[in-house]
């Protein structure tokens, strides 16, 4: 469609104007390229200095590609910096949180959209309060409660709060998707003798798969990158997640940038790989949350 429209436009515009248009087009392209470069530069720089030694980073070769590719920076970040452990922790915390959010959000959405009862609208607005509540508001009580329960320094100390704070967005997204499922299906299932649970498991849940990826991606990014709770609730090496680990690591290697760069790169690569394959779905998940609200 874009090609045909470009043709129409060009045909309609007088020749003199076409030239002017081309100039502005070039300017626009230049502007867009410049901004793309600004967006890419820090990442490019990170990858290059993660492979350099101090000498290159600090003067000999600041911006260019590394002269000697120092892969040992990566092995140092892995071994001394414990990056592997942080990575695994982030993965465990994130995946479990996603599961929790999905289960709680889809079930609640079902109750609020498919089942008839007074106050379901109000219940929905109640959940939507969570979109505005800053995560900090809960920090002291959560902290004291977790510590009294002896749950600081465990995966649960992060999984439970993360699930709770992603829940509102999860419900918001699920409502959008569940609204697309035709009610006829419920009725058909009902006539087949399914109860509310039967309808939920046989009809609704399987059709919510697109929501699963959207909610999942959204929750993934919230949990994978979260810093405040992770800093405060976790001090044991064994449970630190990537953001906290990196923060600690950079405190240890203030004067040596290579291993830090490697650690930063290792924390970023999985996200980038996922993004390369799922860029469309990832973008959708962000749009869904905002637009469907």
């Amino acid at each position: 469609m874009s090609a045909s429209r470009a043709k129409v436009n060009q045909a309609d515009i007088p020749v003199a104007q076409q030239h002017r248009f081309k100039w502005t087009d070039v300017l626009v392209q230049l502007g867009l390229i410049l901004w793309a470069a600004i967006c890419l530069f820090p990442v490019y720089w990170m990858f290059t200095f993660s492979l350099k030694n101090n000498e290159e980073i600090f003067g000999a070769n600041v911006m260019g590609l590394p002269q000697n590719w120092l892969w040992q920076n990566y092995s140092r970040a892995l071994n001394v910096g414990n990056m592997g452990q942080y990575f695994l922790n982030s993965l465990i915390v994130t995946i479990t949180s996603i599961l929790f959010v999905l289960i709680a959000a889809i079930m609640a959405t079902y109750a609020m959209t498919r089942l008839q009862w007074k106050g379901r609208k109000r219940m929905n607005s109640f959940f939507m309060l969570g979109l505005t509540i800053p995560i900090h508001a809960a920090i002291v009580p959560l902290y004291t409660t977790l510590s009294r329960a002896g749950m600081l320094n465990s995966y649960w100390a992060l999984i439970i709060p993360y699930s709770a704070f992603s829940l509102s967005m999860g419900i918001l997204i699920s409502i959008g998707f569940m609204g697309d499922i035709p009610y006829d299906l419920d009725e058909a299932a009902f006539l087949d003798g399914c109860g509310v649970w039967g309808i939920f498991f046989r009809v609704i849940a399987p059709l919510m798969l697109p929501a699963v990826s959207t909610v999942g991606i959204y929750t993934f990014l919230q949990c994978w990158n979260e810093l405040m709770f992770a800093t405060v609730f976790i001090s044991k090496e064994a449970y630190k997640t990537l953001p906290v680990g990196i923060q600690g690591l950079s405190g240890q290697y203030t004067t040596e940038w290579g291993p830090i760069g490697a650690a930063l790169a290792m924390a970023t690569i999985p996200t980038l790989i996922v993004y390369i394959f799922l860029s469309k779905q990832i973008q959708e998940s962000f749009i869904a949350g905002a637009v469907k609200g």
């Binding site: 609640a108 089942l115 219940m123 002291v140 704070f165 509102s168 924390a267």
Partner: protein
């Protein structure tokens, strides 16, 4: 229609997981924070009830200086709305007009949103490093030596230096929302206007922007409440320094809680943040309704 009891029970069961999470992790802690904010408590021992003294101290104490933190947060919010959003809108408008490489640009512009703030913050501390950082090296190489600064250590420029990565990171997010909104427009709306002889700028101003108004509202709310809540990037870049010049309410709260052992006062800031977030969200909703 009368529903059987079991039906009600089922509703309750479906809501249960979400309700338990929501009430225990969001609602109950807020109530507890509100209570702690009325106490003096060092984290050890039992909280001592002192009424609204913390609130009085919060707004009068020079050593806490909440006003500076609020001023910084407001400045961040203002710049988000006045610079970040218009810029994002401009990008969205351009990209939605079938620019060559549209998908590529979209993907690249959105990428910073996905990268952890800690990673981005760490990268920018390196960029800002006075001796070895890319920025000062660049300035020196083009002969602008006098422009070089200790970007994160000079109280006059530190907050500005922190704002750049914060604003930069989320341009892509707002752009994506707006872009999606524009793409969601019925195609004939734009084309009809084009055929009527409107310039692209006129189409944007009179048709596109009013059409995506609901998305702009969401963007503004996210930008403002996001600024109030902002934490990660400042924590990584300066942790509120130098001399608290870049303090935000969130970093101040963490500082009071865990460096000064003032759990009561920290809770006071938490409560203030919730109130502010709700206040601004309502204000923005109201503003967007009025103009309709």
């Amino acid at each position: 229609m009368k529903r059987p009891l079991s039906y009600k029970l089922n509703i309750f069961l479906f809501l249960l997981p979400a309700l338990v999470l929501f009430l225990s992790i969001l609602i109950a802690p807020i109530v507890m924070s509100a209570y702690y904010s009325l106490t003096e408590w060092n984290g050890l021992g039992t909280p001592e009830f002192i009424g609204f003294q913390n609130y009085v101290e919060l707004f009068t104490s020079k050593s806490i200086n909440i006003m500076r933190a609020l001023k910084n947060a407001m400045l961040l919010a203002l710049l988000s709305v006045c610079i970040q959003l218009p810029f994002a809108l401009l990008l969205a408008l351009k990209l939605s007009r079938h620019v060559k490489g549209e998908r590529w640009y979209l993907a690249i512009y959105f990428m910073p949103v996905l990268i952890s703030s800690v990673v981005i913050g760490q990268l920018w501390t390196k960029i800002y490093n006075p001796e070895y950082g890319a920025l000062n090296i660049f300035l020196r190489s083009v002969g602008l030596d006098s422009w070089t600064r200790i970007w994160l250590g000079d109280k006059n420029v530190a907050f500005g230096a922190c704002l750049v990565p914060i604003l930069w990171q989320y341009v892509g997010y707002h752009m994506l929302l707006m872009y999606a909104g524009i793409k969601g427009m019925p195609a004939d709306l734009n084309e009809a206007a084009m055929l009527d002889g409107c310039t692209p700028a006129q189409v944007s101003w009179y048709i596109t922007i009013p059409y995506i108004r609901p998305i702009l509202r969401v963007s503004v709310i996210f930008a403002v409440t996001g600024s109030l809540k902002s934490f990660d990037m400042i924590y990584v870049l300066t942790n509120g320094g130098p001399n608290h010049a870049t303090e935000l309410p969130s970093t101040l709260m963490i500082n009071l809680l865990f460096l000064r052992n003032r759990y009561g006062m920290g809770s006071t800031i938490a409560v203030m943040l919730i109130v502010l977030c709700f206040f601004f969200a309502m204000l923005i909703n109201f503003a967007f309704k009025e103009e309709k």
